[in-house]
Symmetry: C2
């Protein structure tokens, strides 16, 4: 991905605050501004993005330099790699990265008035590598979280990536729906889902979230799959994210080991209605917390205990991000957001039902992106 | 795991340098000193360990507080949790952690002479939360990497965990050996391996490493599985790590799609000899780099191009750690180390063979921990 639009947005934001140099250290920021799915941001493989008056330099471990070359070939972009794996000396990525950062920053730092830094992600060690190069009297502006609202509006490239992720997610759900059988275990459902997704993708994929029987005694809302056997009258929550090229999807369906009980049918139909209602509320100009309140009201009016989690959330480089559909959030829904909605009803020890769709906000409403079968059997 | 021995070793190391307070921010340090497999150390779920004259306080996100309670119940240990997921206000883990750290550190910091900090892992933001509480004239000692040599000698608890990991690794290899068939793809082998391990464990497991056909044209040493079809005369490298309760295993076998060719048989037998020779060199008092030199010499004397990677390495909380069996390393092999050895021969575009075992260094030699079948078919 070219990610040019992302860099334009970031530049505008920095310029508005008079920031001429900046260090992006949050791996999500680096990912978003470069378009590269380079593993990074960990102590093992740190990657940084240096900003200097409209130009971006990616500092990346040498084994990813080839992958990063497409970034460096773009206007205003450069790549500086540092030594990673070697058998000739101790591996010391933080030290080599610090040296690279100091070299890249050196010439421009002496004129710095205001430097922006993602202080929650940059280590003390890396900061010390540049701090002594700065002139007296410079200002440091923490820019943590600045990109998050910019990330909420997806570019056309990002939407295409997310669409492909949902295609793989749907494949996982088909496999999960088939695998939910009395006598099988939660983990057996999970391996069926993961195998189906990876075989379709032709590569390893990182997947999330919940894969649990409805009869779990205390928390039957979510959790990773365990060695728990599916009972004949069980409901089963499969809440599935696929991370494709760095971008998350999300989705939830409730499956049944056999013929659903009368109670399960009632709950399932009600949650279907709640989800349809929630989707109908999403359009440009709607306020996140108002959608949240209305869906919670819908559950309560149906006579159900209201779910303790969010009504929905944005997705992108993380599984939960802006715009959160939660009680306090006054954010306005805008075209280009990709949002999830996920009402559920939970009777611990008995059964639980949750359904979730993902959608792109359009000029007039939404386009649902998730295509998994959420219907009763 | 109690991890009491780990804390004793760390305390001794800190006291030797006159350090009375310390902040452990590297997730591996936190893991090792607490024995807890708490997800942490990322921007998403940061965990820290505060040290004050023999006492340890774990700062952990609230959803992991229950899991951490066993740590807090030990002598000289405490847990302080901070707010993670909430729907009542924005999620802001770094801010809440900074507040918790300042509160925990506050009373003892005013008497600090020397504070030790893992500066490569602690963010500027978290450092600022305590810096202003320190008295004038204090010294800061970076303690990055201090625990690494201490981690090389495994405790009885750690060895038991690693043994269980190897049991699961062996199960993965059995599945992989069966799945290597002409016409199947690399990714199909991988899903068979991953499913077998997860079904045996009854839970999700994080697995590593290489799962590739020998005919890959440029790098046929390693890489993640792809959409590449196994040919009838292919060799296949399955280099498998299983991370069990935070601890890595490692292992490699070479499998064959059909009857191995004469060349493959020759290579395989030679690598078997090289591995057996390498294992025979590992004993207390041996020098890492001398083992490395001798095994490389063995390959060269056989007339083969010497592999470009390490001869071996330690495992533990990471897949590659001390003692590295590489050309420069003067470390002395000691009882309690868990080491891997992995000679290989690579003909890009044609075939590749690598075999790897894991072993515990004993008083007299080694006990091999990996039990996978590395024999020719």
């Amino acid at each position: 991905m070219a990610a040019n639009e992302q860099r334009q947005r970031a530049m505008k934001r920095l310029e508005a605050d008079g920031i001429e140099q900046a260090i992006f250290a949050n791996p999500l920021s680096v990912r978003w501004l470069t378009g590269l799915d380079v593993p990074g941001g960990s102590a093992e493989n740190p990657a940084l993005l240096w900003y200097d008056r409209g130009d971006f330099t990616l500092l990346v471990e040498s084994s990813f330099a080839a992958q990063a070359a497409s970034f460096g070939a773009q206007k205003g972009c450069a790549v500086r790699d540092y030594l990673g794996y070697t058998i000739q000396q101790p591996i010391d990525r933080p030290r080599f990265l610090a040296k690279a950062l100091a070299e890249v920053a050196d010439s421009s730092l002496e004129e710095t008035d205001v430097i922006g830094v993602e202080t929650q992600s940059l280590s003390m060690h890396l900061w010390w590598a540049v701090r002594h190069l700065l002139p007296g009297g410079y200002d440091l502006t923490p820019i943590d979280g600045w990109l998050e609202p910019l990330r909420a509006l997806k570019t056309a490239e990002e939407i295409a990536t997310i669409r492909e992720g949902f295609r793989l997610t749907d494949i996982g759900h088909s496999a999960g729906r088939n695998a939910v059988q009395a006598g099988a275990r939660e983990i057996d459902v999970w391996t069926a889902v993961q195998s189906a997704v990876e075989q379709a993708a032709g590569k390893r994929m990182t997947l999330g979230n919940d894969c649990i029987v409805g009869h779990r005694p205390t928390n039957n809302i979510g959790g990773p799959p365990g060695d728990i056997v599916i009972r004949p009258d069980d409901s089963f929550i499969l809440d599935l994210s696929v991370i494709h090229n760095g971008y998350w999807t999300d989705s939830c369906a409730t499956y049944y080991a056999g013929e659903p009980t009368a109670q399960q049918v009632t709950l399932h139909k009600f949650v279907e209605e709640a989800l349809a209602y929630a989707i109908s509320l999403v359009k440009p100009g709607a306020v996140a917390k108002e959608i949240d309140h209305k869906v919670r009201d819908f559950m309560a009016r149906g006579g159900y205990k209201v779910y303790p989690h969010h009504t929905g959330h944005g997705i992108g480089l993380t599984g939960h991000e802006a715009a959160r559909i939660v009680p306090y959030n006054e954010e306005i829904i805008q075209p280009g957001m990709v949002l999830m909605l996920e009402p559920g009803i939970y009777f611990p020890g008995v059964t639980s039902v949750r359904l979730e769709d993902g959608m792109l906000v359009t000029e007039t409403g939404v386009e649902v992106l998730s295509g998994h079968d959420k219907s009763l059997p």
